[in-house]
Amino acid sequence: MQTLTVAESGFLYIFKCIEYYSSGCFYLLLYAAALAFIFFKGTEKEKAVFLWPGIVTLLTVFNPLTPVVINSIFDINKEYYRFLWIAPVTLVLAYISARFVAQMNTTGERIIAAAGICLILAGSGVYLYSSGYTKAANIYKMPEEVIQVADIIHKDSDHEYPRAVCDYNMNMELRQYDASIMLTVDREAYMNAVAGGITDDMLKYDENPVNRILGVVVMGRQIPKEDFIKAMDDSNTEYIVLDHYSSMQYYLKKAGLKKIGETGTRVIYRYTSKNTEVFTLPDYSEVWKQQKFLSLWQH
């Protein structure tokens, strides 16, 4: 819930939060209906287990005042939705469904009741793979191209920790597979660029190298080549991975980058500079020699 804030929404925050949280899934309503059923028809045990805690949840977690109060102490804007997990929707719906089926007398009735409940659950919910089931390409659950890009960069580089900037998906996945490839852009900066958070004025006057590289790679801005090269130097970026269809390939070639390889849908460019500061891991063995184990705790 990156865009929803208590400051802007006030007491309406909780309603908007529920709307975002549900996103077309009506299970919170089914949960409320199940609690109502327990209220009228439930046993004492069912009331103790589900109803009374459910009412306390309704009065606290779902209370419009609560996020406003908590937000005055902690920044809760992005995380409040997790409090909605306190309502045990899965358990209550599964229990009520099983209870209903168990009340049927014959096996045939049970099968029909179970099928009916499944239809209701499917119809009022959103299926995990509603936009399609993608089978993992390998045991890493990564597209093969992530592995290929990592291989190409390492074969080309003469040091252990080369630094790259990639297209969106590749940038998010590359270091999950291979942490010896450094990335110039972190997730927040990348998402900011994708959301249009970098203006032309920023690219012109602000010398932030990350923004300038994102301006080229993500936004397709043809900033002056010397500015782009300076950004590459300042950030020690050596490789750029682009989508095959990116219109910026011509720009990169003109800026002096050299194509070193390609995969099914990606193309990899290398920037060579004498100014690149190669990343090496800080040598902690000096610390281990000079600072005895647990000495931190003695101080």
Partner: protein, 362 residues
């Protein structure tokens, strides 16, 4: 490749056996009478993470390498498992022989449960999911393994961090993943997205089973259908924010375990407390779960006290017992302490650096 996958699949039951061995140290103390295999696995899950956190924090805050922790934890696990075998083998023998008889009596139920869980595993473990959070959580494991350090480098970029990020410092769940990758040679992607995903799903279903057992008694068909419907609900209760979505796609995040293991576990404990709220046994278990939750995710520090409050308050009123409130407050102490520590960190009161003062060059 196939060997790694096979090893990966075998690690799911291996994890459960490990939790069983750790849990037996507590549950088998009561002897045969109350010993339950499923409760032992659940208890062991929390005991395991509570114990892991101690050497992990000590070694991490002294800037020592992951390999130190891996070797030490490997030895400690071995010792704990041997001790558990020595002290508990008689209880296990008796329990497993009774279990075999029970399973033979309820073959259809056992087969149905296996099919329900295996079908879910087959679906989620073969699926490809693109999620932004993996860029941090999975990359954190890969980075720790690559650099032989713990939480010292930014998972997003690989750059060196000058201080430990407090949000992830005490929640050492990803470091356990890194330790296992170090010990077994399994790639972090296989460990986090297949092995722990499968392990978490099975544990979650064990809790559903325990709850169903409490609610339906020995009616196996009702228990089986509750497990089936829980699976259906989880697959259809989907938006990027729901706990079900976290369980099916993002178990590498500790908060997923808070939503799908810790919270149902708290509900289960309160079901038992509704019956015997004076029993110290379940209050101790609640304390263990609350303590263990802080090691899984920083999110637990707010969510778990809220959850305990929501379930504890009606219990206290119904039983007219102040002691229930007091016990609830005691149970959430670990969460509150870490919450206050986090507030102190955010307010700039303290910071844990990733280097000692003498390490001047950085």
């Amino acid at each position: 490749m196939t060997l790694q996958m096979l090893m990966g699949i075998m690690m799911i039951p291996a994890n459960l056996i490990l939790y069983f061995l750790f849990g037996s140290l507590i549950t088998a103390r009561r002897g045969n009478k109350d010993f339950s295999i499923s409760m032992t696995v659940l208890t062991g899950f929390f005991v395991y993470y509570c114990l892991f956190d101690i050497p992990c924090l000590v070694i991490m805050l002294n800037w020592r390498p992951l390999s130190w922790l891996g070797n030490l934890w490997g030895v400690l696990m071995g010792i704990i498992c041997i001790i558990s075998c020595i002290f508990n083998h008689k209880v296990w023998k008796d329990k497993f022989s009774r279990l075999i008889v029970l399973l033979a009596k309820h073959k259809a139920f056992a087969a149905a449960v296996i099919v329900i869980v295996a079908a879910q595993l087959a679906i989620i473990l073969n699926a490809y999911q693109f999620t932004l959070d993996a860029a941090y959580y999975v990359a954190n494991v890969t980075t720790s393994l690559q650099t032989n350090t713990m939480n010292i480098y930014d998972p997003y970029t690989g750059d060196w961090l000058n201080h430990f990020e407090m949000r992830y410092l005490f929640a050492t769940y990803p470091m356990n993943d890194a330790v296992w990758c170090y010990l077994t040679g399994i790639h972090p992607l296989l460990w986090t997205k297949t092995i722990m995903a499968g392990t978490a799903l099975v544990i979650s279903n064990i809790i559903y089973y325990r709850i169903a057992l409490e609610l339906f008694g020995r009616k196996t068909s009702a228990i089986g259908s509750m497990l089936f419907f829980a699976g259906v609900v989880n697959f259809f209760y989907i938006s990027i924010f729901t706990s079900s979505n976290f369980m099916l796609t993002r178990t590498y995040e500790g908060k997923s375990l808070i939503g799908n293991i810790v919270m149902p576990m708290i509900i289960y404990i309160f079901i038992k407390l509704n019956e015997e709220h004076i029993s110290r046994r379940f209050w101790r278990l609640l304390f263990l779960v609350c303590l263990g939750s802080t090691i899984l995710s920083n999110s637990a520090n707010m969510l778990v006290p809220a959850m305990v409050g929501v379930f504890g308050l009606p219990l206290a009123i119904r039983k007219r017992s102040i002691k229930v409130i007091v016990n609830c407050l005691i149970c959430i102490i670990p969460c509150v302490i870490l919450l206050l520590a986090y507030v102190g960190y955010v307010k700039g009161l303290f910071v844990f650096y990733t280097y000692p003062p003498l390490f001047g060059k950085h």
